[in-house]
């Protein structure tokens, strides 16, 4: 278990380094000069050179990367911006705020949207899937299957505005999507995020409905279920106590993948509902050729994805004792 964990963490660290290198190199392929943006409209060449020097942009690429990487672990002193403490991801070229704290500021928004949606869609998907399996072949099953096909085909940027239009503008049922810090007012935090959660759930639930339905049906045909039935256990007890356990493994797998997709998809979600999270930060960073910010956001995203993958593998072992982690 420990060895497995160490190996996976080492692998994850390796992937993060590769991703940061790739982002760094890719960014240098874009010939838009961030120093020019710093310099202003009328820019004498010596000013430009000075700014480039202060930003460290006149060093060779690998030296710049090395400075950046060292800064992440030990912090660094940036002439243009001042001292930058240990997990130093640099300062944004565009807004001049420290990247790390800018990301931390916006993290709650993205996490609230993602994890809130994840909870809603997991419950909803598993419950509808179970109902569909329970009612196999009957109208309720067919309705669940049909709506899951349609749900999976919807786009956030279509359903989002549509739901806002009807629920907020026409009927006035819910407030406009926004982020209210949970520490400030949990109730308002909840209602203001309800529409984004619902939209994401509608789209992602389908997977779980289908998956839960098919694995439950499979599980119900297993020998141990038949044995339990034969011994006189009621259908409902078998269903709720035994069968769902075997159904959890594939669900955990796709849940890990989907959480990563949800986090990665934060860009479109936040754009749709004009939420000010990490996705918005990323879009702005691309528009402004803001390398430090872009690197920071990419790494946070990649970090979330690799961590989730490891977590999913650990969860397998928790759910299914037959799985050995090596």
């Amino acid at each position: 278990m420990v060895r497995f964990f160490l190996r996976r963490v080492a692998g994850a660290a390796m992937i993060m380094v590769i991703i940061s290198v790739v982002t760094f190199v890719l960014f240098y392929a874009v010939p838009r000069d961030p120093a020019r943006a710093f310099c202003g409209k009328i820019c004498p060449p010596q000013n430009l050179a000075l700014i480039r020097h202060n930003l460290g942009m006149d060093d060779p690429l690998f030296v710049q990367y090395w400075h950046w990487l060292a800064g992440v672990f030990t912090g660094r002193d940036l002439p243009q911006f001042g001292e930058c403490a240990a997990p130093c991801l640099g300062y944004s070229f565009a807004t001049r705020e420290p990247v790390f704290s800018a990301i931390l500021d916006r993290l709650p928004v993205t996490l609230s949207v993602t994890f809130g949606a994840a909870v809603v869609l997991l419950t909803f998907g598993v419950v509808t899937g179970m109902i569909a399996a329970w009612q196999q072949g009957r109208p309720l099953d067919k309705i669940a299957s049909a709506s899951s096909v349609i749900g999976a085909s919807l786009q956030i940027y279509f359903v989002g505005p549509l739901l806002v239009f009807f629920a907020v503008d026409t009927l006035g049922l819910l407030p406009r999507p926004a982020y209210v810090p949970i520490t400030e007012d949990p109730g308002r935090w909840f209602v203001h995020l309800l529409i984004p959660w619902l939209v994401l759930s509608i789209i992602f639930t389908a997977n779980y409905t289908r998956m839960t339905r098919s694995v439950m049906i499979e599980q119900l045909a297993e020998d141990y279920v038949r044995t339990a039935r034969a011994k006189g256990m009621s259908g409902r007890t078998v269903f709720l106590r035994f069968a769902w356990r075997g159904a959890m493994i594939p669900i955990v797998t796709i849940f890990g993948v989907d959480l990563a997709t949800l986090l990665g998809g934060a860009i479109i979600t936040e754009q749709t509902f004009t939420l000010h999270g990490i996705g918005e930060l990323a879009v702005r960073a691309v528009q402004n050729t803001d390398l430090p910010m872009l690197l920071g956001v990419t790494l946070v995203g990649a970090f979330a994805i690799v961590t989730l993958t490891i977590l999913v593998d650990v969860l397998y072992a928790v759910i299914d004792p037959r799985v050995r982690l090596r």
Binding site: A29, R32, Q155, G160, R210, S214, A282, T298, A302
Partner: protein
């Protein structure tokens, strides 16, 4: 995941009557796997209906100029600005429901006042052709990499596997919008206007770079198990070259997952392309594009919801039809597999 199909032990005609069918004589002997598949497919009413809808979309895309000629409008003219009385002073259509009328079937675009119907019809061309190109490209790369990794094993497998892992760990949407300007500047300096074809090519390139991993992983796993099967071993013992084994023994058994994955991947790319348009990094004006219609639609939905509904409903119908078709194909190709 689809297990190797019922034809797995046969080295003859591949299921699905794929173009690589190396045995023309198979059609004579009763029912080939392709015929069996076709019969199963025809019995599936949902699948046939979905196939008709998909064919309809392809037809509309192909016949867009004809449709536009018959309808008498084109997607570029700003009718609302040229003719007074169509848009109000804020740029929104005067008529009800986004200006829908006998003349403008689906209404007018707010602001520019272009015809929505022709935009939609020409937009299918953009979306569908990008999705098609990307699907074919990802399939080719994915199949080559997957078979290579699975068949060669060892160090090759390790390297390809790590590349796939890394690509999968990239935050996909972010990477898409980072990569787009990079690909473009490889061809054109940033001062120049980006030509339309270049944006088209870079969208295809970027979606392909991130897209091939799924099919490659899937095929690698299949090849790993096929490689140990008797018929491959037999071929190897008789001295068949690796190339022959790959093309004549392995590939025929992989057509089923390849075709199924393509039908399921294509709607994803239609969505992804529209997503890029929605983020403002998709196809540029004046090329009609569904994604950009969503971008405009999302900014005017409070005043003119109709404009958002048309591209929205179109893309839903298209994606639903394609997904249903994919499911039916899977059932037909591979009746044993469960979803």
């Amino acid at each position: 995941m689809t297990p190797p199909s019922q034809a797995a032990t046969a080295t003859g005609p591949p299921p699905g009557g794929a173009p690589a069918a190396g045995a023309p004589g198979a059609a004579v002997t009763g029912r080939s796997p392709a015929q069996l598949m076709w019969r199963r497919f025809r019995r599936d009413r949902t699948g046939v209906a979905a196939a008709c809808v998909v064919a309809f979309f392809f037809l509309v895309a192909l016949l867009a100029p004809v449709i536009s000629r018959l309808y008498g409008k084109d997607p570029y003219t700003t009718y609302g600005q040229n003719e007074p009385g169509l848009l109000n002073e804020y740029g929104y259509p005067v008529g009800p429901n986004g200006g829908m009328s006998a003349e403008f079937w689906f209404g007018l675009e707010p602001g520019l006042g272009r015809d929505v119907f022709t935009q939609l019809v020409y937009g299918i061309r953009t979306s569908l052709s990008i999705a098609l190109v990307v699907t074919v490209a990802t399939m080719v790369i994915g199949v080559v990499m997957g078979i290579w990794a699975g068949y060669a094993g060892g160090r090759t497998d390790y390297v390809i596997g790590r590349v796939v892992d890394t690509l999968l760990a990239f935050p996909a949407q972010l990477f898409l919008i980072v990569l787009l300007p990079v690909v473009e500047t490889a061809f054109v300096s940033p001062e120049e206007e980006t030509p339309v074809w270049l944006r088209y090519v870079s969208i295809c390139v970027v979606l392909t770079v991130l897209g091939w991993t799924t099919i490659s992983r899937l095929l690698r796993a299949q090849v790993l198990s096929l490689r140990e099967r008797e018929f491959v071993e037999a071929a190897r013992v008789t001295g068949a070259s690796p190339l022959r084994i790959v093309f004549k023994e392995l590939l025929p058994n992989l057509w089923t997952p390849i075709i199924i994955q393509s039908t399921l991947a294509l709607p994803l790319y239609v969505g992804a392309e529209a997503g890029l348009g929605f983020l403002g990094v998709g196809m540029t004006e004046p090329t009609p594009d569904w994604g950009r219609m969503f971008l405009v639609g999302a900014s005017v939905y409070r005043q003119d919801i109709t404009y958002l509904v048309f591209p929205g409903v179109s893309i839903v119908i298209f994606v639903v039809a394609f997904n249903l078709l994919g499911d039916s194909l899977r059932d037909a190709f591979d009746p044993k597999s469960r979803r």
